[in-house]
């Protein structure tokens, strides 16, 4: 697909030849995830998380379809139907806990995947569309996860739905009608629950479709790599199969072990106890908090406390949506021709500052809004916007990057001469010879 030396599919078995002539599906698979897709040979483990995200999407779809066979989307019966799954359906507790923790793990791997893209400049030309389609997937994931959290109709489900839909009422004039239209009523009730269930079932398939576009757009220029240097010749790459299928496979097995630990030993660790109390429109929980993967955005929302020209709530909502929308402009904000953060000493420091900043926002958004916590989140949110919109463009204008290696095979990044040549695969007179 991507490079001149990509091997075309050559059917071996007569049946495959017969099939390939009529429906070139084997050819498509071979070129996408088989021996026909050349991948830079120096990918590190941060490159495994894209495949893991796809794996968790599959886990969520499969377990979700089974749960939908038992789940009952009624305001009277939803909570008890989930408990029926937990108590009476064969292995229902396992399926439900896998789905519940699977959502969290889907976000964990996606966040790592996004930050990998930020560090290694994966959003830069010619991969701008890969980045933007990824952000579309992320937005769809957030919508899906939010609606899924409403379905058990516990206290946090109900009040989360109440709070999130009330964001829309911050907009003048059109806001309140939009909120009522989305909910199908003045407060979350049967109409809201049924439509959230319908959309929660639909959106994962939309995500799967955008994932296909994401991978398609990726396979035109081919995968990026830790040096950020373009692939130049055949010895810079390895065929996806068997090299990366094997690496992704074993890494996925290890990561699933971690996942299994949560499912079997701490299934409710990432959730909130209040969601085991049935929804009660008359009793507001002491602290309404979303699921952990929304905490940074919740902190940004709550950080605006002053009516400066616009009402504080509208500022908060604009900033919260804005915090993701600005990422779509990233390829044009960071104009540095060097992709990889490893060769950008100033950028690298600010990148880690951003990671810490987002973690602080998450911490601030996850618990009660005490004055001190709000003050910290205000500084952290200010840095978030300044980082992407002011600091990053300035760095790309003034920074002097480190010298880049001539090619992937001769990468001279700290110790990566070893990485560029996997054990047993050292190219004769390649990486080692030209390293210095």
């Amino acid at each position: 697909m991507s490079f001149a030396w990509a091997k075309p599919y050559e059917p071996k078995a007569p049946f495959m030849r017969w099939l390939d002539e009529r429906l070139p599906l084997p050819r498509l698979v071979y070129g996408a995830v088989g021996g026909g897709y050349p991948v830079p040979r120096n990918l590190n483990y941060w490159w495994n998380f894209g495949v893991l995200a796809g794996l968790f999407l599959a886990i969520q779809i499969v377990t979700g379809i089974v749960l939908a066979m038992w789940y009952y989307s009624s305001a009277d019966g939803a909570f008890n139907s989930v408990e029926h799954i937990m108590r009476d359906v064969n292995a229902g507790w396992a399926i439900r806990y896998i789905h519940m923790n699977g959502a969290s793990f889907f976000f964990i791997v996606t966040y790592i995947h996004i930050f990998r893209g930020l560090y290694y400049g994966s959003y830069k030309a010619p991969r701008e569309l890969v980045w933007m389609l990824g952000l579309v997937i992320y937005l769809l994931m957030m919508a899906t996860a939010f609606m899924g959290y409403v379905l058990p109709w516990g206290q946090m489900s109900y009040w989360g739905a109440q709070v999130i839909t009330s964001f829309f009422s911050a907009f003048p004039l059109v806001g309140e009608p939009i909120r009522v239209w989305l909910l199908g009523g003045y407060a979350p009730d049967q109409a809201a629950l049924t439509r959230f269930f319908s959309l929660h079932y639909l959106l994962p398939f939309v995500i799967a479709a955008v994932v296909i576009l994401h991978i398609w757009a990726l396979h035109i220029p081919g995968s990026s790599n830790p040096t950020g240097v373009d692939v130049k010749e055949e010895k810079d790459t390895l065929p996806f199969h068997p090299f990366y299928t094997a690496k992704d496979g074993w890494f996925a097995a290890g990561f699933l072990a971690l996942f299994a630990f949560f499912v079997y030993f701490a299934p409710n660790f990432l959730g909130h106890p209040d969601n085991y109390i049935p929804a009660n429109p008359l009793a507001t929980p002491a602290h309404i908090v979303p699921e952990w993967y929304f905490w940074p955005f919740y902190a940004i929302l709550r950080a605006f406390t002053v009516d400066f020209i616009l009402p504080a709530k509208l500022w908060g909502v604009l900033a919260m949506f804005g915090s993701i929308l600005i990422l779509f402009f990233l390829p044009w904000l960071d104009k540095s021709p060097v992709r990889s953060g490893s060769y950008r000493p100033v950028f690298k420091r600010f990148f880690w500052l951003l990671v810490i900043d987002v973690l602080i926002l998450g911490w601030a958004g996850g618990s009660a809004a005490t004055p001190i916590r709000v003050a910290i989140s205000q500084l952290a949110a200010a840095y978030y916007f300044a980082h992407f919109l002011i600091i990053l463009p300035l760095i790309s204008a003034f920074e002097t990057p480190l010298p880049l290696p001539d090619s992937i095979s001769s990468s001279r990044l700290h110790g990566e001469k070893a990485e560029a040549a996997p054990i047993g695969m050292a190219p004769k007179g390649g990486a080692t010879a030209t390293a210095e």
């Binding site: 408990e83 904000l333 003050a375 200010a382 916007f385």
Partner: protein, 246 residues
Amino acid sequence: MLLRIFMAVVGAVFSLVLLISFFSNVSTFLTSPPEATAEEEFHHHPKELALASNGLFGKFDNKQLQRGFQVYKEVCAACHGLSLVSFRDLHAIGYNEAEVKAIANQWATEVPSVNPETGEAATRKALPADRFPSPYANEVAARAANNNALPPDLSLMTKARHDGAAYVYSLLTGYEKQQPAELLKKFPAAKTPEGLYYNPYFPNLNLAMPPPLTADGQVTYAPGNPAPTVNQMAKDVAAHAGGWSS
């Protein structure tokens, strides 16, 4: 270039409004610091509770879970339902078929039913397939009998509270006859209202439930079990709520 200037302005505006919010927040905090509340100062974190099921290789102690069930049956069930759990679920903590049948048959509250002759509302004895019948017919009846407080269903109690079983154990053993003098001195408004009971493990310190476990030996354990002290009964019922009902 135009895009970058525009975005820099957007970023500057957001950051500026956040900094204004920050300084207004800090000045409010300095001029009128938030007042301490009785809950903040006197609420206790749950006590440690060591159970056989703790840890990666923990196992449930069925004898303890059965004792806990006995406490539920003889004490808690007077006011609290267990409506998501069935009698047949008792098999999981080691009761055999005949025992489950007998427990269901002798349950103090009967299951709502319909008189097959007249069609009028009636009750019948519970069967193993039934869920535990609730002690009150509906919420209004429950509130009427309990000074307008609603005894919550206990099916998911340990999952619906932070620290689950440890919280249940601490609450049951945490009642104090009198509020600390220090509390009353500092927060005179936080005096326990008439009809409520002071318990520092409860989020707002005062709860409507009277101390349910009041005396050692309130429940008689079968021979071969530890002595039914209040502490032991609270431990057992907490283990039972965490290990079996939820």
